[in-house]
């Protein structure tokens, strides 16, 4: 059995146990988290749209996108979006979704990432297969760094979860940045209260 | 805690230096053994002479043990460290009697510092490793030179030789997120009428690399050409460094392209005027 063979070889060859270091636990240099978050989000190829409340989103969606198939689980968007996507949905039926608007748990100022777990995605593939993705973030939801992010995630239960930072992108051809590789072509952050 | 670890690593040398300086007191009474690396001895005696004269000017009691040869680095870097025992023993014999050992080559000093061993006298080997200094760091850290009577009215490009810079930490490295400093830059700034030119790549390797210069000829030469070009582009009349081997390589390239730009060991500039 390779399992036993590998484990025996590893056990025989690993050095004496070395302790884990203390957590870095540093704070993000003081500054406005919202401002930092908005700046980073823009730098990574997404756009920030300030809104007073979630109720404004349907109107902004109409302005920003060309319609098509829109998916969201936000109650205020029920008029414009379908919301009956679930883990039981055949993912292949989502291939023609144009716009998806989701609410992540929180976002990270230092890298513009939004943390979203499976239960907020409808189906795992939705945030990836949709042509355009939008996330609704409030100022209080922004944490400084990934350390605080994992403090918040803690022992949280999920089957699948992701940090999503900006639109899908590639620079594989001569380091030229192209947005919209395989996932969403654009990422919009609706920043509530900006 | 982690921070301390990082610092300890980077500042080990400085702390060594301070401790030793305190113990030794008056720097004029110390004895210094001068190690002139083989290729400097053979090809660039002026760099050796300038080193000697500079130390003498600063009141240091310098001796050049006649029986010296090589630090053993050419062999060791080629994978033949096991053939350097003879070299090592000779080095210990020549130099262990001095308070300090100084050499105008970061590369050779780093090699001795990291790899000098002895079958019979490991304590002596360790002691040699602890007291060998590259010329620049000896000037800034042990002698704590604050001014120099030198004049060199030229535009100079400073090449940061890797072993001196990344090995001996003569200058801050661009890779690290840490405060900048440059010991050779500090000294060159004391030289009257000298203008240091900026470079696009402050600390890229020149491609000499010991036997690399012949074993990987194509890449070595290309690296050298690129490095030289950076200095030329910024108007350097002289390229200087704390390591003559890098300069020998760049000189070979400059002369092949019939450039009028010269190389000069930093000791010659600090001793000029």
């Amino acid at each position: 059995m390779s399992r036993e063979k590998i484990l025996a070889a590893v056990a025989a060859n690993q050095p004496a146990s070395q302790p884990l270091p203390p957590d870095p636990g540093m704070n993000f240099p003081a500054g406005d988290l919202v401002e930092k978050f908005a700046a980073v989000v823009t730098a990574i190829g997404a756009r920030v749209v300030g809104i007073g409340s979630v109720a404004e989103i349907p109107a902004r969606i109409a302005e920003l996108f060309q319609g098509g198939r829109i998916v969201s689980f936000i109650p205020e968007l029920a008029e414009i979006a379908e919301n009956d996507i679930s883990p039981a949905t055949d993912p292949h039926t989502l291939e023609n979704v144009d716009v998806t608007i989701l609410q992540p748990h929180f976002a990270v100022a230092e890298n513009g990432a939004c943390w979203i777990t499976e239960d907020l995605m409808g189906h795992r593939v939705l945030p990836f297969i949709t042509q355009h993705l939008a996330m609704v973030v409030t100022a209080e939801q922004i944490v400084p760094t990934m350390h605080q992010a994992y403090d918040r995630i803690a022992e949280g239960a999920y089957g699948f979860a992701a940090f999503i930072a900006g639109p899908s992108k590639t620079a594989d051809i001569e380091q030229s940045l192209v947005l919209g590789a395989h996932g969403p072509r654009s990422m919009t952050i609706f920043l509530v209260g900006l | 805690m982690n921070g301390e670890l990082v610092l300890m690593n980077n500042e080990r040398r400085t702390m060594d230096n301070q401790a030793k300086n305190v113990n030794l007191g008056d720097s004029k009474k110390m004895t210094v053994g001068l190690f002139i690396p083989c290729y400097v001895d053979q090809f660039y005696p002026n760099a050796g002479i300038a080193t000697l004269q500079l130390l003498e000017k600063l009141g240091v009691d310098v001796h050049y043990p006649a029986g010296q040869t090589c630090c053993g680095q050419p062999m060791a870097n080629s994978g033949f460290e096991h053939l350097t025992h003879g070299c090592n023993d000779l080095f210990i014999k020549n130099f262990s009697g001095y308070d300090y050992i100084v050499a105008p080559s970061g590369s050779c000093v780093l090699h001795v510092k990291d790899h000098l061993h002895s079958g019979q006298e490991e304590d002596k080997a360790l002691s040699v490793r602890g007291k060998i200094y590259e010329l620049i760091e000896f000037l800034t850290d042990v002698l704590k030179v604050e001014n120099l009577e030198a004049r060199f009215p030229h535009k100079v490009g400073l090449h940061q030789s890797c072993h001196g810079q990344r090995g001996l930490k003569l200058s801050q490295m661009t890779e690290l997120v840490a405060p900048g400093f440059s010991k050779p830059g500090y000294l060159l700034n004391m030289v009257k009428d000298l203008e240091l030119v900026p470079l696009d790549r402050m600390d890229e390797c020149c491609g000499f690399g010991g036997t690399f210069c012949v074993a990987e000829e194509a890449v070595s030469v290309k690296m050298g050409k690129d490095r030289v070009e950076d200095h030329l582009k910024h108007g350097a009349e002289f390229i200087t460094a704390a390591d003559m081997s890098c300069l020998m390589h760049m000189e070979g390239i400059l002369r092949r392209k019939k450039s009028g730009v010269k190389v000069m060991h930093i000791a010659e500039i600090l001793n000029a005027g």
Partner: protein
Amino acid sequence: MMERTHKDHAQLSDVFNEDEPRVNWHDETLWWVRQKRDRAAHGIPEFELLRETASQIKNNVLSNLSDYLVQFEANALANGIIVHWAANAAEHNRIVHSILEKHDVKRIVKSKSMLTEECHLNEYLGGQGISVVDSDLGELIVQLAKEPPSHIVLPCIHKKKEEIGEIFHRHLGTEKGMSDPQVLTETARQHLRETFLTRRIALTGVNFAIAETGEFVVCTNEGNADMGAHLSDVHIASMGIEKLIPKRKHLGVFLRLLTRSATGQPVTTYSSHFKTPRKGQEMHIILVDNGRSAQLGRKEFRNSLKCIRCGACMNTCPVYRRSGGHSYHNAIAGPIGAILAPNLDMKEYADLPFASTLCGSCSNVCPVKIDIHDQLYKWRQVIVQEGYAATVKSVSMKAMAFTLSSPALYRFAGKSGRLFLKYAPFAVSNQMNPWYKQREMPEPPAESFGEWYKKNRN
């Protein structure tokens, strides 16, 4: 002794350097990535503390790896993941194939996995009649070009857009002469969307696996790993056993470092945490050793297993930038490849540790502080002692010639010092002399320092 059938690093670099403008372009492209890395790192005042912390976490991992593997396995099983163990590349490939056979699948889609490159999975599956489509854009390009990746993060960084345009014209039907990255990327998007939608099995790599939770994290910018995995009935994830980290919170440290070091981005677009299979989906993890447990036993070299595959050492390496990834003739190129490869086959890769000036820049950018250049030096000692230097003709013979001409060995032989000139590599003015080919020799002075000293100071 059997000679190697292919060229060594020095010979391959000679070929690469025949086109100097192209070398300049390659060097500058990768230097640009290094500069992006610097800007990202300098934006984090505590960056060096992060590196030190990451390094210590990895020390802890390597020193407790057997326990962490067992812990990870138990948690992954509890999460409903099927766990496999592969002692070597062949076993890994067989396991993948057996899963495909079980599901009667002949076509799969794969996101980036350097481990599968190391195992030559595509070739193996090809031989079994299985078609594999690489979905990372760079990997797709080199796959269509029938070449291996030349860089672990930027697989086709050696290719110019015009060449990629030609490949796309031939394989994907783009207009001849079209080389706009925007258009080429859009073409790949359309082409691969079809692939993602029709493949029942997707294979991904693994960036980090968490012992305490049994989950694993895959980082991409393109979203290709997620498109493959979430549309498939079966997700196979291949990982080297060294990819483990103890706790979920440690991702905070590693994800802050990984992409900043790799491309200068603050984080990859997607950091996907896979903990359980989707309802109705099958999820497999293959834990691969393939020499890692042996490397763990090499005291001087075990730290190489801390590598998180960011590629920073390649981008900063002045040799890599001027010799190209293929000159390393190994799945993993550059400085890190040069310290990993000899463990797998010392004879085959005896040349790689010599493909360096030991400048040390690699160790300085390494986010987990692997002492890469010190290990290059140490591998040289091992390779010479084990007698493998002799198989690397152009390196060792020239090196030996130089070594034997060193004044130390030479003076031990009792000759006079001036003869050094005759034997030094730069002392012979002919085209056979690798020094003289493109460089002038130093001009021998009238007297040596030693001679001057004797006259002037004694």
